[in-house]
C-alpha cells in the first residue's frame, strides 16, 4: 500500500523538519505514527468532532482531513508545542483550574482551537467563545467550564501583555 513518496519540509512546534510522506498519508497518522506526537487524538475521522485539531500556519484544521504533504512549507503547532520549556501556557493552566476537561480526550484539540480564537480575538465575550468553539465536541463537561477556562486564560494573557 505504499505508493510514491513525497518530500516535505515543515516546521513543527518550533523545529524545522523534513521527511518523506506517502501521497495518501493523512496528517493525523503522520503526526501520531511517524513523529510520535500522540497528543493529537483521533475520534470521528470525518472532520466533525475536532479531537484531532492542530494549528497550521496559525489556523485550526482537522488533521484527520488533511494529507501529510499539505504541510509542505508550512508551520504546524500541536499540543506538545504549546507549553514553553515545561511552563504551561495560560490556556493549559486555566483548563486545569476551571475544570475545562474530564476524560481529556478532546482537550488537546479544544485547547488549540481556543488558541486560534484568542489569536484572532484576545478579548472575546461568552457568546463569541461559544460560537467559535462550536467546531469541537466534548462529551464530558457540558461545555460551560470550557468557556470559563478560555475566558480565564484570555484575562491572564491580556494582563501579561
Amino acid at each position: 500500500m505504499s505508493g510514491s513518496l513525497l518530500p516535505v519540509r515543515f516546521r513543527v512546534n518550533g523545529q524545522d523538519r523534513q521527511s518523506e510522506v506517502r501521497a495518501n498519508e493523512l496528517l493525523i497518522d503522520f503526526l501520531r505514527d511517524r513523529l510520535g506526537l500522540t497528543g493529537t487524538k483521533r475520534s470521528c475521522d470525518i472532520e466533525i468532532c475536532g479531537a484531532c485539531t492542530v494549528l497550521l500556519n496559525g489556523k485550526a484544521v482537522s488533521s484527520c482531513a488533511l494529507f501529510a504533504f499539505e504541510i509542505n512549507g508550512k508551520e504546524l503547532l500541536t499540543i506538545e508545542g504549546l507549553a514553553d520549556n515545561g511552563r504551561l501556557h495560560p490556556l493549559q493552566e486555566s483548563f486545569i483550574e476551571c475544570g475545562g476537561f474530564q476524560c481529556g480526550f478532546c482537550t488537546p484539540g479544544m485547547i488549540l482551537l481556543a488558541q486560534a480564537l484568542l489569536d484572532e480575538n484576545p478579548d472575546p465575550s461568552w457568546e463569541e467563545v461559544k460560537e467559535y468553539m462550536d467546531a469541537n465536541i466534548c462529551r464530558c463537561t457540558g461545555y460551560q467550564m470550557i468557556i470559563e477556562s478560555i475566558l480565564d486564560a484570555a484575562k491572564k494573557m491580556r494582563r501579561s501583555i
Partner: protein, 790 residues
C-alpha cells in the same frame, strides 16, 4: 492543617492531559505491534454455512486471520449477565454489525484489504427488530438457549418471571400492596405510554485494546471501565488462571457505560495468540455505533389517584429492546423496573420490566442505567395527571413526594435528602408560577452571557415559551461491588494509594487523594495515586453507577485509617507513649513537646532494613433479603430539573432557553468536579431529549456516524444553565458523600416535555423532540385531558 475536603485541588491527571502527554491505549506502540480489523455481518440474522479465508491469509502483510474455524479457546462465549456473546460468530450472526472474522496485519490498509477477501456463505433467517415483533407468539429466537445465566438474587417484593422458548431474557417483577384493590380505592385512574430512544454513548475515544500473548500469559492494555471483570472473562475464555491475565488501564477517553465488559479485548488477544505479536484493535467511529447502545424503551404507567391528588396505586410496564447480546442490559432492566414508580408515596405498586432480545445492536449500561427512561415516563405522566385534575404540577409533586427518612420501598435505605426542599429550590430558580419574562432571575447575573431579550417580541408570534419541572430519583449503584483499596506509607514518608477504580474523567483519583490527605493529615503533594494494573492493584468490580466516591471511597477511607493506626503505633513506641496520646497534624506526629515527621518515624521504626506500612480497606454493601433487588441502595441519587423552552409552532423546533439542574452530593469532596459531573450529565440529557436517536430501517442502522447522529455542541447550551448541588450529608461515602454524575440526566426529558406542554398545550410522549415529531404533534391537537376514568 486546612482540610483537603471541599477544596478544588488541581486534578492530578491535569498536567498530563493538557500537554498531550497523558497516555491512552491508542498511544501505545509496543515493538512488533500489528493492527487488527474485524469483518462484520451485513445481515441481521443468518446461519453461517461456510467461511473461506484462504485469500485473506495469503495476502502479504497479513499475520493472522481469526474465524470460528481456528478459534481455539476454552470457552468461546462471554457476557456479564449471560454467556451469550461469542468472540467471533459461531453458528450464526444476530445483528448487522455482528463480528464474523478478524484480521491482523502489519498495516491497517492491508488488514482492511484482507477483510474484503474473506468469503462468508450465509443462510438468511427471519429477524425481529422491535420488542413487539420479538414478543409475538412463534417469533424467531435470537438465542435458542441461555448459557451461564446469572441467578436472580431478589429479596422480598422482587421476582424473576421465567419465559421458556422466548426472546424475553429477563422479566423482573416488583410488587407491594395489592394494585387492583388500590385502583378500586382510587377516584380516577389515568394511563399513558412513553418512548425513550436508543442512543449512542459516543465516548470520543472508541473501544480499543492492545493485547500481547506470550506463551501462556496474556497482557492487555485496554480502555475499559471494568478491568477486573475483563480479566475474569479473558481468563475463562482462554482457560488461563487469573494470575496469568494482566489488564492494564491507561487513561480512558470517556465511557458513560459503553466500556463495561468485554469489547475489543478477547478479539485482540485471540489475534495476538495467532500472530505471536502484540495486536492493536481499535474500533472506528462507525463501529462504536455497532458495538453497544442505550436500549430503546417503551413504558406504560397507570396511576390511581384520589380527588385531592393523593396517589393510591401504580401499575408500570417497562420494555427494553436489548438487542442481540445482553451485556448488562438485564441489570438495567431490573433498575428501570425498580425505579419506574418514582419517588412518591404510593401504597400499591405492580411493575413488570422486560429485557427482550432483538436482531439489533446490543444494548447495555448507559449513563443513568434505566433511570432516565423511567423518569421520563413517571414525570411526564405526573404532569398529565396534574393538568387533568386541574392542579399545579408542583403542588401535585409536593403532595406525593417522599419525605427524608421515609421508605422508597419497605426495607430499603430510607430517602436520604430533602426532596421537597429540592423541588422548591428549582421551582424558585425557574420562576415557577410567574409569567415568562425576559429575565425572571434578578439574583442570577446574566451579564456578558448574551441572554437575548426576545420575549417582548413573542406576543402573538409563532414562538411560544413555557416552563416545566421534573424530579428524578435513582437508587445508587455499586451494590455488587467488593471494593478494595491500599494505602502505603513508604520509607521516605511519602504515600501511595492504589485502588481499582478507573479514572474515566470523573476525577476520582483526585477525590481519593483528598480523602487520604485528610485522614493522614498530610499535604496532597506527598501522595501519589498508582496506575491501574490488575497484577498489583487490589480488586474492584468496576467503575460504574456513580459508585467510585460513594462505595470505593469508603474502602479508601478505611485503608487510610488502617495506615494511620499503624503509623501512630510506630510513632508511639518511638515516643515512648500510647498511640492514643500521639497527635497527627500536617505531616507530623506530636507527643508533648516532641515531634517526628513521617520520614523520621519510618526511618527510626524500620531502622536500616527499611520497610513500609501497608494499610488496607475493604467495603461491600451487605446482602439484604428484605429489599426487592437483594441489596439496599447505598444512597439515593437525585436529579431534579427545571426548564424554560421556546417552541417554534411553524417548524416544531424546540430550544431550551434556561435549564436549572439540582442534585445532592451528600458532601462535595471536590466542588468543581461535582459541578462538572452534573453539568455534563444534564447536557447529555439535553442531547437525548432534543436530537440523539439511533434510527433503523429494515434492520439496518441508518445513522452510525456523527453527521447523521448529532451530539450536543456549544451552540446547544441554554442561555442560562446552572446547577445546584446540595450537601445534605446523608450519604454512606466519606464525610457523608453520595454518588453523582448520572442524576443530571434524569429530569431533562420530562422537564423539557412538560415545558413544551406549558408553551403549546401539546403533550409529546416520545423523545427526542426532533422538529418533525413536534410539528406533527402540534398539528394533531392539544390537551392532557381524556383517558381518565372515574
Amino acid at each position: 492543617m486546612r482540610s483537603a475536603i471541599g477544596q478544588n485541588l488541581h486534578r492530578i491527571d491535569g498536567q498530563e492531559k493538557v500537554t498531550g502527554k497523558g497516555i491512552y491505549t491508542g498511544d501505545l506502540r509496543p515493538p512488533g505491534m500489528v493492527y487488527g480489523k474485524v469483518l462484520r455481518s451485513l445481515l441481521p440474522h443468518a446461519r453461517i454455512r461456510r467461511i473461506d479465508s484462504r485469500q485473506a491469509e495469503s495476502l502479504p502483510g497479513v499475520v493472522a486471520v481469526l474465524t470460528r474455524d481456528n478459534l481455539r479457546v476454552a470457552s468461546p462465549l462471554h457476557g456479564a449477565y449471560v454467556k451469550d456473546q461469542p468472540v467471533v460468530a459461531l453458528e450464526k450472526v444476530r445483528y448487522v454489525g455482528d463480528i464474523v472474522a478478524a484480521v491482523a496485519a502489519t498495516e491497517e490498509g492491508i488488514a482492511e484489504e484482507a477483510l474484503k477477501r474473506i468469503e462468508v456463505d450465509y443462510e438468511e433467517l427471519p429477524a425481529v427488530f422491535t420488542v413487539e415483533e420479538a414478543m409475538k407468539e412463534g417469533a424467531p429466537l435470537v438465542h435458542e438457549r441461555f448459557e451461564g445465566l446469572k441467578t436472580s438474587e431478589y429479596g422480598s417484593g422482587g421476582a424473576h418471571v421465567v419465559h421458556e422458548n422466548s426472546n424475553i431474557l429477563l422479566h423482573f417483577r416488583y410488587q407491594r400492596g395489592a394494585v387492583e384493590k388500590g385502583f378500586g380505592e382510587a377516584d380516577v385512574v389515568f394511563e399513558d405510554t412513553f418512548f425513550y430512544p436508543s442512543a449512542q454513548h459516543y465516548p470520543l475515544e472508541s473501544h480499543i485494546s492492545v493485547a500481547l500473548f506470550e506463551g501462556e500469559s496474556l497482557t492487555v492494555w485496554t480502555s475499559t471501565q471494568s478491568p477486573f471483570p475483563v480479566r475474569q472473562e479473558l481468563a475463562r475464555v482462554f482457560g488461563l488462571p487469573l494470575s496469568r491475565v494482566r489488564v492494564i488501564v491507561p487513561y480512558v477517553g470517556g465511557g458513560y457505560g459503553a466500556k463495561s465488559g468485554i469489547k475489543t479485548e478477547a478479539l485482540a488477544a485471540s489475534l495476538s495468540r495467532l500472530a505471536g505479536r502484540p495486536v492493536q484493535l481499535a474500533f472506528s467511529a462507525d463501529e462504536i455505533f455497532k458495538t453497544i447502545c442505550q436500549p430503546r424503551a417503551k413504558l406504560t404507567i397507570k396511576t390511581g389517584v384520589k380527588k385531592d391528588g393523593a396517589f393510591v396505586a401504580r401499575r408500570c410496564e417497562v420494555y427494553l429492546n436489548g438487542g442481540a447480546y445482553a451485556n448488562s442490559g438485564p441489570s438495567a432492566t431490573e433498575k428501570a423496573g425498580y425505579r419506574a414508580h418514582g419517588p412518591y408515596r404510593i401504597p400499591h405498586v405492580l411493575t413488570d420490566s422486560y429485557h427482550v432480545y432483538t436482531n439489533t445492536v446490543p444494548g447495555g449500561a448507559f449513563r443513568g442505567f434505566g433511570g432516565p427512561q423511567a423518569a421520563f415516563a413517571y414525570e411526564s405522566h405526573l404532569d398529565m395527571i396534574a393538568h387533568r385534575l386541574k392542579m399545579d404540577p408542583v403542588e401535585l409533586r409536593m403532595k406525593n413526594l417522599l419525605d427524608r427518612g421515609e421508605d422508597y420501598a419497605a426495607g430499603d435505605t430510607p430517602i436520604d435528602c430533602d426532596l421537597k426542599g429540592g423541588l422548591q429550590r428549582i421551582a424558585e430558580a425557574i420562576g415557577w408560577g410567574q409569567k415568562v419574562e425576559a429575565n425572571p432571575h434578578p439574583s442570577l447575573s446574566l451579564e456578558g452571557r448574551g441572554l437575548k431579550v426576545r420575549v417582548e417580541g413573542l406576543k402573538g408570534s409563532r414562538i411560544k415559551r413555557g416552563k416545566g419541572i421534573a424530579c428524578g430519583v435513582k437508587d445508587g449503584g455499586g451494590t455488587n461491588k467488593p471494593a478494595n483499596a491500599m494505602v502505603k506509607i513508604l520509607s521516605d514518608g511519602s504515600v501511595l494509594l492504589s485502588s481499582g477504580s478507573v479514572e474515566i474523567g470523573q476525577g476520582m483519583r483526585t477525590a481519593f487523594l483528598q480523602i487520604v490527605a485528610e485522614e493522614l493529615s498530610v499535604a496532597p503533594d506527598k501522595i501519589q495515586v498508582a496506575e491501574l494494573d490488575t497484577q498489583y492493584t487490589p480488586f474492584d468490580k468496576g467503575t460504574n453507577a456513580s459508585s467510585a466516591t460513594s462505595v470505593m471511597g469508603q474502602a479508601v477511607l478505611r485503608a487510610a485509617r488502617d495506615a494511620r493506626e499503624q503509623l501512630l503505633a510506630a510513632a508511639a513506641s518511638l515516643l515512648e507513649t500510647q498511640a492514643s496520646e500521639v497527635e497527627l497534624n500536617d505531616g507530623k506526629l506530636f507527643f508533648k513537646s516532641k515531634s517526628l515527621s513521617f520520614r523520621e518515624v519510618m526511618r527510626l521504626h524500620y531502622a536500616e532494613t527499611e520497610g513500609e506500612i501497608v494499610g488496607r480497606g475493604f467495603f461491600k454493601v451487605p446482602r439484604n433479603d428484605k429489599v426487592p433487588l437483594g441489596y439496599s441502595s447505598p444512597f439515593w441519587e437525585i436529579g431534579f430539573g427545571a426548564a424554560e423552552v421556546e417552541v417554534d409552532e411553524m417548524t416544531g423546533e424546540v430550544r431550551i432557553v434556561k435549564y436549572v439542574s439540582l442534585t445532592d452530593a451528600g458532601k462535595m469532596i471536590h466542588p468543581l468536579h461535582c459541578r462538572g459531573q452534573d453539568e455534563g450529565a444534564a447536557l447529555f440529557g439535553m442531547g437525548l431529549t432534543l436530537f440523539e436517536e439511533i434510527v433503523y430501517k429494515d434492520g439496518q442502522m441508518v445513522n452510525p456516524n456523527l453527521v447523521d447522529y448529532r451530539l450536543p455542541r456549544f451552540r446547544d447550551l441554554p442561555e442560562l444553565f446552572t446547577t445546584q448541588i446540595l450537601e445534605e450529608e446523608g450519604g454512606p461515602g466519606p464525610y457523608g458523600a453520595k454518588g453523582m454524575g448520572e442524576g443530571g440526566i434524569l429530569a431533562v426529558a420530562p422537564a423539557v416535555c412538560n415545558a413544551v406542554y406549558d408553551a403549546t398545550g401539546v403533550r409529546i410522549r416520545e423523545v427526542p423532540l426532533r422538529g418533525e415529531r413536534v410539528w406533527k404533534a402540534l398539528t394533531e391537537g392539544k390537551g392532557d385531558e381524556g383517558s381518565g376514568r372515574g
